[in-house]
Amino acid sequence: MSPVEARDAAFAEPTLPRANGAPVFDAPWQARAHAMAVLVVERTGRTWDDFRARLIGAVTESPDRPYWESWVAALDDLVDESVGGLSGGAVPGGGVPGAAGDGPGAC
């Protein structure tokens, strides 16, 4: 998935808060959380649907939690599975498919 395709999929995400059809962010951290999901999906060889399933899971789990906090919970989950996350301890040998070899210079 190219960065542009990942971004398109991320912007087509039907649950995003919108105004006049365009996604809206109320604060910079929300945009960073969005951008991070785009890049993690792309660089770990996943699809947007993978993230989406986690997002829906997070929203279902805590329906009263603000949308972007559920987004961060889903991102946490994705990162946790990819690199061990913040609480998952050290990552043995860096087990990230597509990340170690390609690195940041891949796109």
Binding site: P3, R7, F11, A19, N20, A22, P23, V24, F25, D26, A27, P28, W29, A31, R32, A33, H34, A35, M36, V38, L39, V40, R43, T44, W68, E69, V72, L75, D76, V79, S82, V83, G85, L86, V91, G94, V96, A99, A100, G103, P104, C107
Partner: protein, 197 residues
């Protein structure tokens, strides 16, 4: 955030979490700051200022709305459904033939997110914050916004308490356009006051 100690609002747990995740991903080589910045910059331009443009277009098209907007920005903006903690005390300042307004936040990067989306990178830069106060005419010209000598420049310093939005002058030749067409003419930079339409 590098200038966090200047920011009047403390960071929240979720902001800290996002920053920690980003640091971890950079550390693991999955993310790099340049790619993150490129995407966020795209958001600044593509998805940010639509709400503000809607407000400006309504003010151009409807004199009664314009009067309400200039008298008290917050409720007038809320009429269109735009509100939020960063837009609680909105003051709208109107450009005229005699006055050009421009907004800065000298302390940090206070910005009306609910109407303008994300602040551009330069808004937070120390040179913008200091020079816009000291020599606005020169800085505006450098940014491609030449304000005629006879036009007074008023610089508004945003804070956590009051956030400003510039109401640009309606462009000549825009008579007969619909509100939607008018909104498409409005740019983020014009609503900060670093561009004249």
């Amino acid at each position: 955030m590098a200038d966090g100690h200047h920011h009047p609002l403390p960071t929240t747990a979720v902001e800290d979490r996002v920053a920690a995740l980003e640091a971890l991903l950079v550390d693991k080589g999955i993310l790099d700051a340049a790619s993150m910045d490129a995407i966020v910059e795209h958001y600044e331009h593509a998805v940010g200022p639509m709400n503000g443009a809607t407000v400006v277009a309504r003010a151009w098209a409807d004199p009664d709305y314009r009067a309400r907007l200039l008298a008290d920005g917050t409720p007038a903006i809320a009429e269109l459904g735009f509100a939020g903690p960063e837009g609680d005390h909105m003051v709208v300042v109107e450009n005229t033939d005699a006055v050009h307004n421009v907004v800065v936040c000298t302390l940090c990067s206070c910005y009306p997110w609910p109407v303008l989306g994300l602040p551009p990178n330069w808004y937070k830069s120390p040179p913008y914050r200091s020079r816009m106060v000291r020599e606005p005419r020169a800085l505006l010209a450098e940014m491609g916004c030449v304000v005629p000598d006879e036009v007074e420049i008023r610089v508004w310093d945003s804070s956590a308490e009051v956030r400003y939005l510039v109401l640009p002058q309606r462009p000549a030749g825009s008579e007969g356009l619909t509100e939607e067409e008018l909104a498409a003419l409005v740019t983020r930079d014009a609503m900060i006051g670093v561009q004249r339409l």
